[in-house]
């Protein structure tokens, strides 16, 4: 195995009862990268993280963190990883300082070193002023920061962040993003799961889209956007009454995707410029004036929808046309 890989998972499978949560999932994360695992709720992201962090055994397949086998050498894996789960796993009933001291002692630091490490992290995460306060009085953002700090006590080389910004307000989210970037800049490998495309787009150098326990796409955010193909045409009719008529016009464009309607905004994917011209012509012929007519590149959102669209659902749509 090339040593540059921080995480390697080879055809991992896991079922709970009859539900196949991971299905032959293969993953390679290079050292020092921020790698995004993107998928809807129930896609298998958390299960994958739990397997890679030794909390759960796979049914089949193998996985290595820095070359250490997560099944055969769990304790050696734990020496090099940090985990921040979906719910802030901090002790509410004691202070932030006591939380970090506790983790420091548990990872094998001597009392003095554990105290020093706690102070260092409290300062780095802007918690020094409230270090002695019981954590249950913290805001959601402060708890998350403490949670992240707790996963860094042992200076992990590989950090797992399972939906780290879920439930955070915008300011706290941006703050956390900056911290994650800072960690990666210092050489920590970060595996991040998220439901938010924007998060994957902004943070991750590479992204894997998973759905129903399978990898459905992998690449840089730009590459994933390219997977959708072509451009996106957006139209707003001048009169609200024309939304139906405009939808019909766009739906009749040969080669374009089915139009999406959100209030008075119509969106349609167009593989080439010819269709854009055709759309303009047909709207004119139908006598529908428009106040907004824009051609743009697809967003990661649209890429995501296109990639994770269920084959069954797509067929049904096709049949009804």
């Amino acid at each position: 195995m090339p040593i540059e890989l921080a995480i390697r998972a080879d055809r991992l499978a896991k079922s709970f009862g009859r539900t196949q949560v991971l299905d032959q999932l293969t993953l390679e994360v290079p050292t020092g990268a921020i790698y995004g695992l993107l998928g809807p709720n129930g896609a298998g992201k958390t299960t994958l993280v739990r397997i890679l962090t030794t909390l759960l055994a796979p049914d089949a397949g193998r996985a290595f963190v820095l070359g250490r086998d997560v099944v055969a050498q769990p304790q050696r894996v734990r020496e090099v990883i940090g985990l921040t789960g979906q719910y802030a796993a901090v002790d509410d009933l004691i202070s932030a300082r006591e939380n970090l001291y506790l983790i420091g002692r548990l990872v094998g630091l001597r009392p003095r070193a554990a105290r020093a490490r706690a102070a260092e992290l409290l300062a780095a995460f802007g918690l020094a002023d409230v270090a002695g306060t019981t954590v249950k009085n913290y805001s959601g953002g402060m708890r998350r920061r403490l949670d992240l700090a707790a996963s860094l006590v042992g200076r992990p080389a590989v950090l797992f962040l399972d939906e780290p910004t879920t439930g955070l307000d915008l300011a706290s989210r941006n703050e956390l993003w900056d911290m994650i970037r800072g960690l990666a800049a210092d050489g920590t490998t970060v595996l991040l799961t998220t439901q938010y495309l924007e998060e994957a787009d902004r943070l991750a150098g590479r992204v894997m889209v998973i759905d129903h326990g399978r990898a459905v796409a992998e690449g840089t955010p730009a590459e994933l956007k390219g997977l959708v193909g072509g451009q996106v045409l957006e139209i707003r009719p001048l009169h609200l009454a024309d939304v139906g008529g405009a939808t019909a016009v766009l739906a009749d464009l040969a080669g374009a995707s089915r139009p999406l309607v959100a209030d008075d905004l119509l969106t349609v994917r167009v593989p080439d410029d010819e269709l854009v011209a055709a759309a303009a012509r047909n709207l004119d012929v139908a006598g529908i004036p428009v106040r907004h007519f824009v051609v743009r590149l697809p967003s990661l959102d649209e890429a995501f929808l296109a990639i994770t669209a269920r084959p069954g659902a797509a067929q049904k749509e096709g049949a009804s046309r």
Binding site: G85, A88, D91, G108
Partner: protein
């Protein structure tokens, strides 16, 4: 390594108690309430006088107090699972047994405090150790050993059951009949025959008898040996079950 980690975990659990005034008041007042209520409400009716009932009931009351006190082990351990903290601990390169062992260690400290409060007030009310210093020390040791054994049982409940409510109910349903259908509060002679049969085999009665022997003077060899058997048995069975269940719980 395991001992250091157990100590750190125990310290954390004790901090919970020390930093929470309500809990601190709770574990101080609860044993006092039990003692005062039983002695002054039932004492006259059962033993003719509160002083003689105090003597009868205190040894068993310590056993009962330990029983109720250890339900906190189940609740605390379960809460750690609910908070997701256990996932953090399990992703650290630490001994897995330290989480449970640390909880049990801290709870022994807590129950020891509850026993001391009860005994101190009882002495103030006129209780005397007729069994001498050796008996008093032995009794205290026995009741703490029972505490350890029950902590393992409670830890098993805490790890096995999903919700905090279920844990609380199960602990209560287990301890309430065991401590009341025993010779802790009244002599078994006044109970119906079938209940007497249960009371005689109920380990809580055995502990109450052993404690009476140690604190008040009297035969101790048989009940203490039986009690020791229960302590070893409970600890081994539930210690093993708890640690293996803890390892497997996802």
């Amino acid at each position: 390594m395991v001992f250091a980690q157990t100590g750190v975990m125990a310290r954390r659990n004790l901090l919970h108690v020390l930093s929470d005034p309500e809990q601190l008041i709770g574990i101080t007042i609860q044993p006092l309430l039990f003692l005062l209520l039983f002695v002054y409400v039932f004492g006259g009716a059962i033993s003719g006088s509160t002083t003689s009932y105090l003597e009868f009931v205190l040894p068993g009351l310590l056993v009962q107090g330990i029983g109720f006190g250890t339900t906190q082990t189940a609740i605390g351990l379960n809460a750690d699972f609910q908070r997701g903290l256990i996932d953090r601990f399990r992703s650290l390169p630490m001994a897995r047994s330290a989480v449970v062992a640390g909880r049990v260690t801290a709870d022994i400290g807590r129950t020891a405090w509850m026993c001391l409060i009860t005994v101190a007030v009882a002495v103030g009310l006129g209780f005397r150790f007729h069994g001498g210093v050796a008996g008093a020390v032995g009794g205290f040791g026995l009741v703490l050993a029972l505490g350890i054994a029950l902590c393992w049982l409670m830890a098993f409940l805490g790890v096995s059951l999903r919700s905090a409510e279920a844990v609380q109910t199960a602990g209560f349903l287990l301890i309430l009949p065991l401590t009341f259908a025993s010779s802790v509060l009244v002599p078994a002679a006044s109970m119906p025959g079938w209940l007497q049969t249960f009371v005689k085999v109920n380990p809580i009665s055995i502990f109450a008898t052993a404690m009476r022997g140690l604190l008040l003077g009297g035969p101790v060899a048989t009940p203490v040996l039986q009690a020791a058997g229960w302590i070893v048995g409970l600890s081994v069975v539930f210690g093993t079950l708890t640690v293996s269940r803890y390892r497997r719980r996802a």
